[in-house]
Amino acid sequence: MRTEDLIARLSADGARNPAISVTSWRWMAAGAAMAAGLALFATLGIRPDFMSALGSVWFVFKFVLSALVAVFALSAVRDLASPTGSGRGMLRLAAPAVLLVLAVAFELSATPSDRWVSLLSFSNGATCMVVVPLLGLVPLGLFLYASYERAPVRPALQGALCGLAAAGFASFFYAARCTNDSPLFVATWYSLAALVLVALGAVAGSKLLRW
């Protein structure tokens, strides 16, 4: 086909369907929160001492941290969903990382070293590593779909960031169930769980986000 003919055809189609509508990020975020929240409340529920735990700084810290990851990762996803996205928003993800490192350092300095291993609580950690990725599956799917509707030029990175945003949403809700509030526990198990979603997102992104 000649380029002129292609242009004639495209412009005719453009006049017929001028506006392509895509799902807004707001709806995607709301959907992700609903999916992860409902899945948690319908299965495991929140921890029994939820109300009294709200008085503990480290319990609240988990929500702050996961909310920061969710918001910053999703805004990077949104930025990079456009071909001209700079990706500079990713730098903001350093903030929750630094906060977590500082919290772990503070906790370890206040805890005798023979109790460090007990903070890790391996059996609860294993649960965390299974539940967080499961809670994050629907959010990951939603973010990948929203990216697919747009035009990311780095598919694997886009998928990985979708995974990180999904991990933020999933962790936020799982934090209400999880009875371990130790920063060392969070830094270890929540991070590993997030890594599962990031890897999954990167693989899915590199396959699905091509256009």
Partner: protein, 185 residues
């Protein structure tokens, strides 16, 4: 200084905005100007020696991507960075798709390459004779697409069948032709 420089740049954004509001003529003008500025880019970016894929094919792929992703342009940003971000992406994509293998899945490209790839060395008269050896629907479809140069959609409309059926018939016809050629070298 900013407002005075490069008056053409504002025009292109203006055309695109008007196009996105549904103005067909402005959309055509926008695409023509985009194609003109993409040609140089495509000639310089496309690695040499991709069989069956040249710079103009890449221009067309970029235009199709621009069309499919036109909603990702923010109407207050300049057009060129957006246009060339898509162009770079499609150039890499083209190299990935066409650089490593010679055979291209026909269904991906039947819309853009209406003419049978010229690897057979067949002339049009030879082609007509070979096509005559086909039967029924395949013959009509292959004639319409490969010899008369119609697109899948046009052929579908002409024969009153679905584009999917046209693709299948086209594919079968090409396969049959290839088999015929192998039998009588």
């Amino acid at each position: 200084m900013k407002s005075g420089e490069k008056p053409g740049r504002g025009d292109l954004a203006q055309l695109f905005r008007s196009a996105l509001a549904g103005n067909e003529d402005d959309y055509r003008r926008f695409l023509e100007r985009a194609a003109a500025s993409l040609r140089g880019f495509c000639r310089s970016r496309l690695p040499p020696g991709l069989p069956g894929f040249d710079a103009e094919d890449l221009v067309q792929e970029i235009l199709m991507a621009v069309h499919a992703k036109r909603h990702t342009w923010k109407t207050d940003e300049p057009v060129e960075p957006w246009l060339f971000a898509i162009a770079r992406y499609k150039a890499i994509d083209a190299f990935r798709k066409h650089g490593r293998r010679i055979e291209v899945d026909i269904s991906d490209h039947a819309n853009t390459m209406a003419v049978l790839p010229d690897e057979s060395g067949l002339r049009e008269s030879d082609m007509r004779r070979s096509v005559d050896a086909l039967d029924g629907r395949s013959r009509e479809v292959v004639t319409a697409i490969s010899i008369d140069g119609h697109s899948i959609d046009e052929t579908a409309a002409k024969l009153k069948i679905t584009p999917g059926a046209v693709r299948i018939a086209f594919h079968r016809g090409l396969k049959a032709l290839a088999e015929l050629r192998e039998r009588k070298p």
